[in-house]
Symmetry: C2
Subunit: 432 residues, 2 copies
């Protein structure tokens, strides 16, 4: 029986994993799609490099055209990374009527809608499960599993590096810099960790999730982002005392068809299902109108988990090929984009400030909050050692971002306020 032929762009950790899975699971793949799968051509930077997997002569090439325009290749798998080049390659592949599977979140976050349009036009599949939370079949669950529901909220721990760092900080009580160094030594963080620790990587994944879950074109710039590099061990220690766990959380929220998408260090109640997602693991919590709370948990990265998602997409493409129905399953944006303004985004807020330890200080501060109708859920005041300052930690009830930002600005004008040490979003929802 004729094999389905696959061209691979890139042969790094994920690419090697894809080759390994295709080789190891021929029986299962054969059983599922009824024909063999064969890697026909692989684009690499260095043909002569020593590799763990052996390849036949002529299989590796430095020339992208030899992969993309090989008439015998049915499916292109893009696992090389990068944005501009890969966009070009994928567009060419789609125009050449080849189906595409990609693990590229950077690309899909920025050009997802354009590429999906091109796929639909050319009657091709473009699948990208591996781009969000590697080993977790979350995109598929949103599209198929929760097909009949209306998704109103998604919260994700979608970056393994930052989750590893925050878990270690929390368990060891160590400062950020020290744990970052440890993560780098263990290979969980890159030597330049900016994209991870500043939240950009998570933002890309949240843009993809929001687009799919809300069926609305959300741009990467629409995602407000704050990373973890300013999280201190004091903040984590106070959070713990108040019953919270600190996580870098991507939030996508919809109310009356207006959405907010953001990434920021967030305090979750210890009993929240996301609070016990530790180390480099990822999880996406989904709130559907009918289904209620669900959560999908698993490895967010790694060669084999990510490759599994890629090959599962490949199986999807191959099933569609055998059924002759490719290019019909892309979910294109259905609703006009409508973003919430800061006076429409509500959350609880954690605030830690230093104030002068004098009579009336606390009431001066609280009156700022009450003027805007913001009340407190939790308050902790402690004297600061070796100073005439006091430390006040506050968790507010629900307040709009606008009100809270204004309160922050006004606090700085108060003579009794010595400094604002930190503030975080608090997510009080979730089952108990």
């Amino acid at each position: 029986m004729k094999a389905i032929q696959v061209g691979l762009l890139g042969l790094g950790t994920v690419g090697s994993g894809v080759v390994k899975i295709i080789n190891d699971h021929q029986d299962k793949l054969m059983h599922q799609v009824g024909c063999p799968v064969k890697v026909k051509k692989v684009l690499v930077q260095d043909v002569d490099k020593k590799r763990q997997v052996e390849f036949g002569k002529g299989l590796l090439t430095r020339n992208a055209d030899e992969v993309i325009h090989d008439p015998e290749i049915d499916v292109i798998i893009e696992v090389m990374g990068g944005v501009e080049h890969t966009k070009e390659y994928i567009l060419q592949a789609l125009q050449a009527k080849k189906h595409v599977v990609t693990a590229n979140k950077d690309l899909m976050a920025v050009y997802g809608t354009e590429l999906l349009d091109a796929a639909t036009e050319n009657g091709c599949d473009l699948f990208y499960e591996a781009s969000v939370a590697g080993g977790i079949p979350i995109l598929r669950s949103l599209v198929d599993g929760l097909a009949s529901d209306r998704i109103n909220k998604m919260m994700g721990i979608v970056n393994g590096t930052t989750n590893f760092i925050l878990t270690k900080m929390s368990k060891q009580g160590s400062p950020y810099e020290e744990v970052l160094k440890e993560a780098q030594d263990l290979g969980y963080a890159e030597s330049d960790p900016t994209a991870d620790v500043e939240g950009l990587d998570a933002a890309r994944k949240m843009a993809i999730l929001a687009r799919l879950g809300f069926s609305m074109h959300v741009d990467l710039e629409d995602v407000s982002v704050k990373g973890i590099s300013e999280v201190t061990d004091e903040d984590i220690s106070y959070s713990k005392r108040l019953g919270y766990t600190m996580k870098l959380i991507g939030i996508a929220n919809r109310d009356h068809n207006k959405v907010e998408v953001s990434v920021q260090p967030t305090l979750l109640p210890d009993y929240h299902p996301l609070a016990s997602v530790n180390n480099e693991y990822n999880a996406v919590y989904v709130y559907g109108e009918a289904v209620g709370e669900t959560m999908f948990y698993g490895p967010g990265a790694g060669s084999l988990p990510t490759a599994t998602a890629v090959v599962s997409d490949l199986v999807g493409v191959m099933k569609n090929m055998r059924l002759g129905v490719n290019g019909r399953s892309a979910v294109l944006p259905q609703f006009e984009k409508a973003l919430k303004q800061s006076d429409e985004i509500y959350a609880q807020h954690f605030l830690r400030i230093h104030v002068k330890d004098q009579v009336g200080a606390f009431s001066t501060i609280t009156s700022l909050f009450s003027e805007r109708g913001v009340s407190f859920e939790k308050i902790l005041q402690l004297p600061l050692k070796n100073s005439n300052l006091a430390e006040i930690v506050i968790v507010t009830h629900q307040a709009s971002n606008k009100d809270f930002d204004e309160i922050l600005a006004n606090l700085l004008d108060l003579e009794v306020v010595h400094g604002i040490k930190s503030s975080y979003r608090v997510e009080g929802n979730g089952y108990s």
Copy 2:
């Protein structure tokens, strides 16, 4: 455009939920499948009963044939429950070339393979996502999301009633009888709770999961079952002291293509992802060779969550109808059934016994274990109040069920052993 017409068998809580979702989400359904969906006919026991949803005259019927053999009906949704009648109805529906969606775990656990065969023969879809863990799209994830992987282990909290009871026992320290009563008052347990508390309901779901995940025909009788009715508050209290959480866990394990499927109260380390699944929630933990550990969490029952799964299946059927590819996606058993024997099933074991408080008692007991090469991970010995007995709690390292059962039998013959109070499986795996 011509609507897709649906016939409903049953209009209880799930059936009403299905009607509500179809009505509320017409726009979304229309967007996804490109045509409207209409409930054409509903089989009920009492046509004149007052209901929350209003139905047009003639929509309700007591005659099953009017639903199953209505030539205009494309899809039959079975949410009436029961086994023999429903099996007959579904077979008739399939023979009449109607696609079927069912939420019936009792039916699918016993006749699943036969019904799926009939569906394939007739070119019809037969979907049953709602039969396992209501709102969690777990079957779909096994079939599609982890399509390229080899699943070697599944552990499930797949019964909400027992999870509710064990959670309450653990949090309140209350005895079983008291919490069962509370669960019944709250509607989480039936007035006859046998099927839930004795593990049968969970066993049905594990049979379905094992069949799908391992692609092997597992019969309900192949599942070894122990319920929670003998779990005492002492057991839970000791588990806690040793760092474990007690859950009713369904386990499906595969080694070298031999499988074990069982349901029993199990001690999980507190850090295991399943340990924090509380109250009536369900979760299925899946271990795939390539992907590693994943977990799917959500509501296991309830009108709307279950109905969501049913309607998602309906969307799957409708998409297939529009693409003309129904009846091709059933996963039929691929491997010959091979069950592990008790000397091939390994686990850690928790044991609580009462012994006479005399010199040499402990060493007499431990020699029984060491004779079979079974060693201890944890030991706790305490004097029993108001008696001359001591209580010994042991957690073994990995031992085969055969060895452990023989040890239990021999313990009873020992003069120093006053009684075996309880024993449980311990699952030491999972991330830490």
